[in-house]
Symmetry: C2
Subunit: 448 residues, 2 copies
């Protein structure tokens, strides 16, 4: 029989990995809920009509498509089949695809449930997504996304709130971060100020790389896009600005830029009503790629470790219009769960309690004491102690080996002596200390 | 633009549904963990080689298959394509399928991870599965399964433990149940005692329906399978037995039946060391269909509501041999999450706290008080109170409508008066009572 395998790009999660990942999700969820966000879940399979065309041409290629059930070829075009034209045949043999992100299904959800939703709708969603990317180290075809959004209001209060959520979640996780803030309108303002509104996209793509390639290379790229030297000089000067007030004079003739500044000021009016453990920094070069953002944008970087961003998001003005519902403004951020996992692993930030297995393993010496030990086990569990009993009174060495593998804090040893005297031997595994106690005192000892 | 839809047989989960479902999973998980079980997760997509042939011919038909990426037709046989032979083409255009249950992936996991696992391996797994069943009321193509198993030991201690888990989980959920217990060897013993070992399967299928169709119809079915009248009379007599000791005389010449009784006695030796809120009952007609069980079997029925079983499971001796690993005995049970959900809904068993949205919504009267209100919001959240602020100082009626939609317990009203005096109006929504308090006193009032 061939050894079983799993598809490339997928993976099993061991108990330790699930426990650590659920610790991260648990912290993030509890913060989301404290801030009034509610969970939703959408199906793993969406209609291909919902997914196709939403992620660009490359995205369409990376969608996992599910074969129609039954005699799937019966409805396919005979000629296209004979020509082995995969693209032409696809639509007739597959009408479902796997969730590619949480944003498009969320937009679909809002449109389909619009009449039962009370807006502003504050939702979070933590579910896996699938992409047929070439698998490589740290990149999987199945991975969790963790999104939090509010739709149906354009209040900049929510921008402040989402930054507060970042701050509190990362503080609780113990991961020090810098939260970078910018506004798409400020970026457009730069193009306006430099008189190159028609090259806004090209400019943004170049600026987005500033922290990776440096100013000299950014200027080269701007030049390649046929932006003239005067404009490039202007852009360079503006990119040196580190605070909002200094930006105003540059945007004197840029209405969009002024609007961006005003938005950031309102955002700060809300934000500055509190103190934050993590640094929150205006970064005029932050662009968040070629996404659908229209207002404030955010990105989160770890402080004590070199790593891509562990979070990002922003304001979008027209998400649900792809499904026919116009004028629903929204803002949201996401947490990069896999990178947060890696960072916390590398910095040793997971509390030991997360992976502690059993508190107690009972070790019995013979059949009689094994039955007695099961009654002892009942008493420990009745006191809500995570306890177990080795399933048979086999060699002590074997039972102790299991205790170590399960990272047990205490063992309780029970033989005929202990049964008679009711005094059980409690052994602390780390120190090796042993003490004889009645079961009630053991419960008390462990709980205190 | 066409209105978006989701594939038939799938569904969105609203915030209330997710909260209720997570309440069930949360209770069950905490019981699993207290009993020393650890979570694992397996990928959504498994190799079709892993899945195919494991669920019978019907199961193979109901597997969702995922199309290979890229030019998927390029490797298909030209002739079979032209003949539109779906079965022949399938293997060349699809090599992955969606998880159909949690048992086969668990067996695969145990085999692939056998060298890192410390046996006995106690695992639980709560993940969705997919089946291309014809959708109907209450039956979906995507649904959660919730399994708990221990493999690598044949100790009957675990049978007792799993019944304890059922008892405690349903007690915590508030759902009264009866846990039915039988043993496959006892069923085989009936066939042995009646001298119809060669008709064991046919007999089991008929007996399995006893509670639905009654003894007269069971006897008809046995007759149809050409079981003679003397044997049928013998079977009828044995099926009237309700306790183990009365069974012994019937199994005097049935070695397998005797073994079944011995197993059930050992099971009870462990079980009887504790008291149980729910009824645990020996049911000699319990068969659990034509499954792979070889020892004890279990089924859970709700007491106060008519409904199919809300749980079931048993001992299997050879699960991992399908992947080449022999002699790994295991025992496990599952919780029928969807039915438990429906039963709890119908009996109104969900604690109101599960669906309580916000504790507090702050209502501001104008722009200035809105900014002030955000600072008040910070203070509530700093005290871990689930609080929110309506995003704009719009009409009070509209804000109050939102408060009701979010099932808010308190509102806090803030206008210019309140800003000046620092005395805020706290309104309890259910009673309509209002009281003027400083923010510190509001925090204290809500927390106590």
């Amino acid at each position: 029989m061939a050894k079983p395998t799993i598809p490339k790009g997928t993976r099993d999660f061991t108990p330790e990995q699930v426990a650590k990942r659920n610790f991260i999700f648990g912290v993030i969820k509890s913060v989301f809920e404290k801030y009034g966000y509610q969970p939703i879940e959408t199906p793993t399979m969406e209609s291909l009509a919902t997914l196709t065309g939403k992620y660009g041409e490359e995205g369409d290629q990376l969608l996992f498509k599910v074969l129609n059930n039954g005699d799937f070829l019966s409805k396919a075009d005979k000629n296209e089949l004979a020509n082995q034209n995969s693209n032409k045949v696809l639509t007739s043999i597959s009408k479902r695809g796997l969730r590619y992100d949480l944003t498009v299904p969320f937009a679909r959800y809002v449109v389909m449930h619009q009449h039962e939703i009370s807006f502003p709708f504050k939702r979070y969603q933590i579910q896996p997504v699938w992409r047929a990317d070439r698998p490589q180290k740290g990149r999987y075809q199945e991975f969790y996304q963790c999104d939090v959004d509010v739709v149906g209001s354009n209040s900049l209060m929510y921008e402040a709130e989402l930054v507060q959520i970042y701050n509190e979640a990362f503080e609780r996780l113990g991961l020090e971060v810098t939260i970078l803030v910018n506004n798409r309108k400020v970026l457009y303002g730069i193009a306006e100020a430099a008189g190159i509104e028609d090259k806004f996209m090209e400019m943004t793509i170049a600026i987005d790389k500033l922290d990776k390639i440096g100013m000299a290379k950014v200027k080269e790229q701007l030049k390649l896009k046929e932006i003239d030297d005067a404009a490039i000089e202007q852009i360079e000067s503006i990119l040196k600005v580190t605070d909002l007030s200094a930006l105003e004079k540059w945007f004197e003739n840029s209405p969009t830029g002024q609007k961006g500044i005003a938005e950031l000021k309102t955002f700060h009016k809300y934000l500055d009503s509190n103190k934050y453990k993590n640094e929150i920094k205006f970064d005029i070069s932050l662009a968040r790629g070629l996404t659908y953002y229209t207002g404030c944008i955010f990105e989160v970087k770890t402080k004590n470790i070199q790593m891509g961003s562990v979070g990002g998001g922003g304001r979008y003005d027209d998400l649900t219009s792809m499904f026919g519902l116009k004028d629903i403004s929204g803002v949201g951020v996401s947490f990069g769960a896999a990178r947060i996992f890696d960072a916390m692993e590398e910095l040793n930030l997971f509390p030991t309690s997360v992976t502690t297995g059993l508190e107690v393993l009972i070790v019995a010496f013979d059949e009689d004491s094994h039955t007695y030990a099961f009654a002892v086990l009942n008493k420990l569990r009745a006191a809500n102690i995570v306890a177990d009993l080795y399933p048979s009174p086999t060699k002590i060495k074997k039972q102790m080996k299991y205790a170590n593998a399960r990272k047990v804090r205490y063992t309780i040893l029970i033989g005929s002596e202990e049964m008679k005297s009711q005094v059980l031997t409690l052994k602390e595994m780390e120190t090796g200390n042993q003490v004889g106690l009645k079961i009630e005192d053991i419960v008390h000892h462990i709980k205190s």
